[in-house]
């Protein structure tokens, strides 16, 4: 029998291969002008959602805790990334190349979101099941609510922050408002690229897949499967739950930064409960714990609503129906039974003479 180890490896390489292949194909098609604007415009969001889905899968699929606030971490990453990218652009004398600003913004977004992941992890990880889920939801809502009242500006005197209004920043000459309450981060220079997204996916896969298939990953899965048993063999459940939670948050943060820097504006409202749920849909549809599934589901479900534009006003209705049908078909037991029945029919409906033949 093939060892599990090598099966993991093949599986992982398949995942990497799929991503790299898709990237190369897209590049070639774009170079030949064969990709519609609509699809080109979606490339960065697709990569963002893939990273979101893969990172959420770490919490939901691998750690086995339902998080309803993953968009909150994306939000933290998006705003810290957007703010730092804009500040870098405004303040650093020797202008950094765009890709470097983007990279720094993603790193900062990741770190800040990871830190928030840690903070929220402290209360969250004392809870279980749906109580935990509700706290993640609460966190997402708090972030959304708080960002709406923060104003940040930059002028010759440096950074200014206010919780009242843009006017209260009292910016001097040439001052620039970076974050403007409900208007969100405005005046972002778009620097996100498909390639950056591709690299972020690779990094995410590297971190997540390697983590899952290592000692720490095993411990995380052990905690998911049976907390009491995990503790009985000397595994600190707190430590490994936190590890998964923070990693997941940090990756979502990096994705958030990439997302924010793909548009000239980003608002807190974007990262609400619905976005958290959307990412959860990717994870569940792609099967919990299945990384490749997350990637495919995120891609398909991001593109799908755009493909459905032909349906006009019934578009979202059609989307809902497709979503339900896909879930039903994917989990249909009768189909599975039918399959088994056919298989046995083929094997055993022949003359009664059959003895223990299989090895």
């Amino acid at each position: 029998m093939k060892s599990l180890k090598s099966r993991y490896n093949i599986d992982n390489w398949l995942t990497y291969g799929l991503v790299i292949f898709a990237y190369i194909v897209m590049r070639i098609l774009i170079a030949n002008g064969k990709v519609s604007f609509a699809l080109q415009g979606q490339l960065v969001p697709i990569t963002v959602y893939i990273v979101m889905a893969v990172s959420l899968n770490l919490t939901v699929g691998v750690l086995g805790e339902l998080s309803l606030g993953h968009a909150g971490f994306m939000s933290v990453g998006a705003f810290s990334g957007a703010i730092s990218a804009t500040l870098l652009e405004l303040s650093v004398r020797t202008t950094l190349p765009a890709w470097m600003r983007l990279a720094l913004a993603m790193i900062i977004g990741g770190i800040v979101a990871g830190f928030f992941g840690f903070l929220i992890g402290i209360p969250v990880l004392r809870l279980e099941g749906d109580y935990l889920a509700i706290v993640t939801l609460a966190f997402g809502e708090i972030i959304k609510n708080v960002i709406n009242v923060i104003y940040i500006g930059y002028d010759a005197n440096g950074i200014r922050i206010s919780t009242e209004s843009a006017n209260a920043l009292n910016l001097g000459e040439n001052g620039k408002i970076i974050l403007s309450g409900p208007m969100g981060a405005i005046g972002i220079t778009k620097i996100s690229t498909f390639t950056a997204g591709f690299i972020l996916i690779l990094i995410t896969l590297f971190i997540v897949l390697n983590l899952i298939n290592s000692r720490a990953g095993r411990a995380i899965k052990a905690v998911r499967d049976n907390k009491i048993a995990a503790e009985s063999v000397g595994i600190s459940t707190w430590k490994y739950r936190m590890m998964a939670f923070v990693t997941s948050a940090a990756l979502a943060g990096a994705a958030g930064a990439l997302y924010a820097l793909n548009y000239s504006t980003v608002v807190a409202r974007k990262f609400d409960f619905n976005t958290s749920i959307l990412v959860l849909v990717f994870v569940v549809l792609g099967r919990m714990g299945n990384i490749r599934g997350s990637i495919i589901a995120a891609t398909v479900l991001t593109v799908l609503p755009e493909l459905l534009r032909t349906f006009n006003e019934v578009r979202m209705l059609v989307y809902a129906v497709i979503l339900i049908l896909v879930m039903l078909v994917r989990n249909n037991t009768t189909l599975q039974h039918l399959y088994q029945r056919i298989v046995t029919k083929l094997r055993y409906d022949r003359p009664p003479a059959e003895e223990g033949d299989e090895a």
Partner: protein, 293 residues
Amino acid sequence: MTFLSYLISGISLGSIYAIIALGYTMVYGIAKMLNFAHGDVIMVGGYMSFMATTNFGWPPLLSVLFAMGVCTVLGILIEQLAYKPLRSAPSLAVLITAIGVSYFLQNAALLIWSPNPKSFTSVVLFDSVRLFDGKLIISGTTIVTIVACIIIIVALNTIVNKTKVGKAMRAVSEDKDVAQLMGISVNKTISITFAIGSALAAVAGVLLCSAYPILMPTTGAMPGIKAFTAAVFGGIGSIPGAFLGGILLGVIEILGKAYISTQLSDAIVFAVLIIILLVKPTGLLGKKVLVKV
């Protein structure tokens, strides 16, 4: 006195959350699924009552019964078509389907009733109670809502704890396989659960719209989430807990607005929620599930 009027406002708002949370908890406690479409069934209930009173000219009480009837059928239908085939699938799969149903209902409502908001005429006929020369006003809707909540709590508790169907519900919620081995029809039990839950959603929808008389396809979404929060806050599966959770959520929201900040009212509500859960990790009235080691 000001505090008292804030408190009453909080209870008014909370009673609405509570009545939604009761339906939520009902389905949630038994079918063990987060029925994210619950908020949208509420919305449908609102529209039904609206149509009955405004378009057909029916009396308010009849409109409520009509809404309950339609929602019950709708609930059973949703359950049969979308959730039943997933009986043996992981619970998150059902949650996603529920989200699909929620999208479906919202968008169907958008097409049927257009996105334009409608102004709802309260079904509560009697006036607000005014105390201390009108300094304290308790609206008729609030009184009706709280009374309805209490009736529902008593009724649900009786059903769940005293009747055969209630026992079946509890058995199903614990272990579907073994429940079947006891001769319980899991499908029938869950259908009944959904029927009751949806009827409650209709009542909640009508009262929600009576208290805050505006009706749109998205009307149920946010109250649905808040009520879900309230249900968890009160302790999952605990019927009085859902009520208490709802009331408290409303009170915290109003007091937070009044004494801290209107801008951050949601942040305050959720922060308080987190703190309380830290102290009481299984919600206000939730029992810790006993695990035998």
